[in-house]
Amino acid sequence: MSRRISSWSVNALMALIALAFVAPVFWSMMSAFKTQSDIRLHPWAWPTRPEWSNFVEAWQGSMGLYLLNSLIVTVIAVAIILVLSAPAAYAFARLRFPGSAVLLGFILSGLLIPVHAVLVPLYHFNPGSLLLQSAAQGSVQVEWFAERFGDWIAVLGPYVAFGLPLTVLLLRAYFISIPNELSDAAVIDGCGHLTILRKVFLPVARPAVATAAIFQASWIWNELVLAMVFINDDRQKTLTVGLMSFQGEHATDWGVVMAGVFMAVVPVLILYFAFQKHIIKGLTAGAVK
């Protein structure tokens, strides 16, 4: 009997845990399908009938564009992070050279630095923007490019730089664990370091590359303050700043705001449930290491 009670109470506890983490998101997502008056008068009721106009308005409020922009910026940033980190991680893992410990410590110091510490100087002297500005002198094409994509150039710099430390750390740890025999054959064949890295190390280290890529992609997808400082052009806004300005425009119309949130959340949740093991591993990588 007491066993039955305890199994019943365990089940109830499990259900309660699930509810605590699902209900808040579920409830607000439901509001995306409700009319203004439904939201105000019956906060807890199901939508009387699904209201699609919220989604139409969210789409017209450029939520689709913001999603696309975030996707582009995230993919570019993660690609650059990996391209810069892999050779560095390889050198730190496999080659002995004077100053390696100092230089590694130098990069790893970035693991805990708050982005706020670089905002003021980078806002006034952003290397990417300055480069673009000087290149734009007299060239119509570059000028057009700077106007159309300049904010992304400005924000990609810090995105990449802050993504480097953990990526170097993760890849290096994996490279160290690869047995020498694997690369010896390539060395005997006279391959250069970059070839060995590309043909031997990176294919073997795919799990570490995936972990690092997931972590950085999630960080950049979610990043708010750098995007707020550097992205002012409406056409270039990423999801986070886009959602903020979208909410500003529809401050009292929560059905529309939640339709926007819905469009931002559902793709992420689908990815999460499809690849949960990899994603959980990737996101906790910084801490569990």
Partner: protein, 293 residues
């Protein structure tokens, strides 16, 4: 031969240079700029020495921000660690139900922060939020309560609660990794010695988890110093700076009020606090791990 000696440096150069240009140089620059009074509108910089820092010490909003950050650290540790440990023990097994529950508990961590902030802003809404709708059924006095505005001091607690809700799944996973590293033989030995569940927890789990818990607490500390997104989305530091933290106040001073030198001084303070926390972190996390780095 000469080329070989250069190779490692060529391999690391792109990453190191990029990092130096976009992180290290700006950090030094921030510290330098904090000694000036200047703005975007009037770029002529006036050297003021430590005046910005002196003003910070008398600035009630800055002190309030510091206090709120401290509150964030303390309440996040108290609110998250025990719950995270309990969850890791409760739903930490490899069964499908437990795995599924862990997926749900970790879920809020993958939802974009801005979305989380907006979701909870709506839940907290005084007139049609879910929270008041439930509470008013129990006690009608909750009708119309503004969890983010009235009274103003309540806002920071409401935000901290959301932060705990979002991150507890993450810390559950961190602690679970620590729990799984404890060898089963120890529990078997405790059982043979006649220890019950609670005794096994006290004499095996807790002592062996001490270091992991301490590291996780420091992780929360460092994270809480940097906290920005939730506060910005839910209240922008308001009402009247009541839920301000260092990061939001720094942003407001620099990018709304255009007091760049002052903002740089706040950023420098954040950097110093993070530095101290990091030194403690490295000390606690132990030499073997640092050696492995």
């Amino acid at each position: 031969m000469r080329q070989q000696r250069l190779t490692p440096y060529l391999l690391i150069a792109p990453a190191v240079l990029f990092f130096a240009i976009y992180v290290l140089y700006p950090i030094v620059h921030t510290c330098v700029l904090s000694a000036y009074s200047w703005s975007t509108v009037n770029p002529a910089r006036v050297y003021v020495g430590l005046d910005n820092y002196r003003n910070l010490l008398q600035d009630p909003y800055f002190l309030l921000s510091l206090k709120n950050n401290l509150l964030f650290v303390v309440l996040s540790i108290i609110g998250q660690l025990p719950v995270a440990l309990l969850l890791a023990l409760l739903i930490g097994s490899a069964t499908r139900t437990h795995q599924f529950l862990r997926t749900l508990v970790f879920g809020p961590f993958v939802v974009p922060v801005v979305a989380v902030g907006l979701v909870w802003t709506m839940i907290y809404n005084p007139s049609f939020g879910a929270l008041n709708a439930i509470l008013a059924r129990i006690d009608p006095s909750f009708e119309g309560r503004g969890w983010l505005s009235d009274p103003p001091w309540l806002a920071i607690y409401s935000i901290i609660f959301v932060s705990c809700w979002r991150y507890v799944g993450f810390h559950m996973m961190v602690l679970l990794a620590g729990l799984q590293a404890i060898p089963d033989e120890l529990y078997e030995a405790a059982k043979i010695d006649g220890a019950g569940n609670w005794q096994a927890f006290r004499s095996v789990t807790l002592p062996l988890m001490c270091r992991v818990i301490a590291m996780d607490a420091l992780l929360i500390t460092v994270g809480s110093v940097k906290i920005f997104d939730l506060n910005w989305v839910m209240t922008q530091g308001g009402p009247n700076h009541a839920s301000e933290v260092l990061a939001t106040y720094m942003y407001t001073c620099g990018f709304s009020d255009d007091r760049m030198g002052y903002a740089a001084a706040i950023a420098t303070v954040m950097l110093a606090i993070t530095f101290v926390a990091t030194v403690v972190y490295v000390r606690v996390s132990g030499k073997e791990e640092v050696g492995e780095l």
